[in-house]
């Protein structure tokens, strides 16, 4: 089965990676795809927001050579939880390509890697395993700085011909164009990264509520603005 592998990263924390990764998973599974969200975050938020058990064996187990059973969050939507084991010595010493190898034979049409904030070696596993990357940023210079570092890493890998995402876009999260910072963000990113597509996820409390109530976004409110934005991102991923 051909896999679409999406890395969602930001380097900065709290800019919407998990919301976008899980929301996107919900959107794609509602389109009939079989989707697995792989959480690379020691905080193990992805399984939580999707309403499954965040302490079940997950990504760390997979990376240690095990074969954990993904948890089903909704029809066609599965998740491998993150967890503190991801910060262990064995995971830290993995080759950046090990996750890519571990998921190559998995029976899913879409794999979404929810990268952690800050922890570069875990983020790198996701960026190398993905063939598409979404770099999340909100309208704050610190988030832009984090996104810049991810972009630089992706570029460098590509220049060196190393395995990893070949195509990436910026996902601007929690955008409210009534705010001057948010208006300036899009312009600034367009000027600094003229060749990188910018995808916008508007400020939408439905996304926040779905996570807090632990219900996949499409089940929570399939007509919300956030779901529409994420559908556009899914479209960009599948159709370029």
């Amino acid at each position: 089965m051909a896999q679409t592998r999406i890395a969602v990263a930001a380097r900065k924390g709290g800019v919407g990676k998990t919301s976008i990764a899980c929301g996107l998973g919900s959107v794609m599974s509602s389109q009939g795809k079989k989707v697995l969200v792989i959480d690379l975050d020691p905080q193990s938020n992805a399984a939580y927001v999707l309403g499954t058990n965040p302490t079940a064996p997950g990504t760390a187990d997979l990376l240690s050579g095990g074969s954990p059973t993904p948890l089903e969050a909704a029809p066609g939507l599965y998740v491998l939880p993150g967890g503190p084991d991801l910060a262990g010595h064995i995971i830290q010493s993995l080759d950046p390509e090990d996750l890519a190898d571990a998921v190559a034979q998995m029976d899913y049409e879409v794999l979404i890697f929810d990268c952690p904030p800050g922890v570069e070696y875990l983020e790198r596993l996701g960026l190398v395993a993905g063939d598409v990357a979404l770099i999340c940023t909100d309208a704050h210079p610190l988030a832009v700085m984090g996104a810049g570092r991810v972009i630089n890493e992706l570029k460098l890998r590509q220049q060196k011909g190393r395995r990893g995402a070949k195509r990436w876009a910026l996902a601007l999260s929690r955008i409210d164009l009534r705010r001057s910072m948010d208006q300036a963000l899009d312009k600034q990113l367009a000027a600094t990264y003229p060749t990188i597509d910018r995808l916008i996820v508007h400020q939408d409390s439905a996304i926040a509520w779905a996570g807090a109530e632990r219900i996949p976004l499409m089940k929570y409110d399939s007509n919300c603005k956030g779901a529409k934005d994420l559908q556009a991102i899914a479209d960009w991923i599948f159709n370029g």
Partner: protein, 274 residues
């Protein structure tokens, strides 16, 4: 009054510039961690990749013996792999591990509860440096110096004192199998060890080894003490003598003569025996 805000565009520009600056540090850290990965000490069995060119065929009996010893003791010598987890040395051990996992998964899980195998990872790529890989493989093989039979027996003695027993088949509760442990320790087959040990037993019965008779041992030790004491007496005296040392000096002549006397008595006794 509210502070006048700067132009947001400038703020973002400063952030993207900083991102570029930090990127250099990111790269340095990534390079360092790449290097540190060479110090990996454990790998899942499935991730240890076989050599592309096997320079030496596996001896199935040796593999079976090793599997037996790994079951008894775990893996004592880690496998040697290159930076990409390709096996450099330990082909028999790897085959034995695979055999054990297949034939006796229960024991295997007991020995390797986290599924991780101890490895010694060397920081080079065998594909890039095949000659070095070969050298490592050969060096590892050469390390199996031929232990003399006496050395083997002495090792066996030490293991026996640690509750290892020469038994065929499964050792009882609390006991450990001597043969396999010894075989792994010195890198020979457990069959060879059994042969050496049984020969040693026979020898022990038939002709007495001088070193194994207590009286010869005693004589040897007495002579050693005599030499050491004489040497001590010839050393120049310390400038400030402590109480103990004073007492020792005083007692030395009498003690030395007792040592010499004992040695002579034993020698006389041995002559009488002959």
């Amino acid at each position: 009054m509210a502070r006048k805000r700067s132009d947001s565009a400038d703020l973002f520009a400063a952030a993207t510039t900083t991102a570029d600056a930090i990127h250099e540090q990111d790269q340095a850290v990534a390079a360092k961690s790449e290097q540190e990965r060479a110090q990996k000490t454990k790998l899942p069995l499935s991730q240890i990749r076989a050599r592309e060119t096997d320079t030496r065929p596996l001896d199935p009996q040796h593999v079976a013996d090793l599997a037996e010893s790994i079951a008894a003791l775990g893996l004592i010598e880690p496998l040697v792999v290159d930076a990409k987890s390709v096996l450099l040395a330990g082909g028999h051990r790897l085959a034995a591990l695979q055999a054990l996992q297949e034939t006796n998964p229960e024991i295997y899980d007991q020995r390797f509860p986290d599924g991780q195998i101890q490895v010694h990872m060397l920081a080079f790529d065998a594909e890039q440096e095949p000659e070095r890989a070969l050298q490592v493989e050969l060096a590892e093989n050469e390390k199996r110096v031929n232990y003399t039979r006496d050395q083997i027996e002495r090792l066996a003695e030490r293991l026996r004192s640690l509750n290892y027993r020469d038994v065929r088949g499964r050792p009882k509760e609390g006991e450990k199998a001597l043969g396999p442990a010894l075989a792994v320790a010195i890198g020979v087959s457990s069959r060879y060890v059994r042969r050496v040990l049984s020969e040693q037993k026979q020898e022990g019965r038939n002709e007495k080894n001088r070193n194994s008779v207590p009286i010869f041992q005693k004589l040897k030790l007495l002579k050693k003490i005599e030499v050491a004491l004489e040497e001590l007496g010839e050393l120049p005296e310390s400038e400030k003598l402590g109480r103990s040392e004073k007492a020792l000096l005083k007692a030395l002549p009498a003690f030395l003569s007792n040592i010499k006397g004992s040695a002579q008595e034993i020698e006389a006794f041995i002559r009488q025996q002959k």
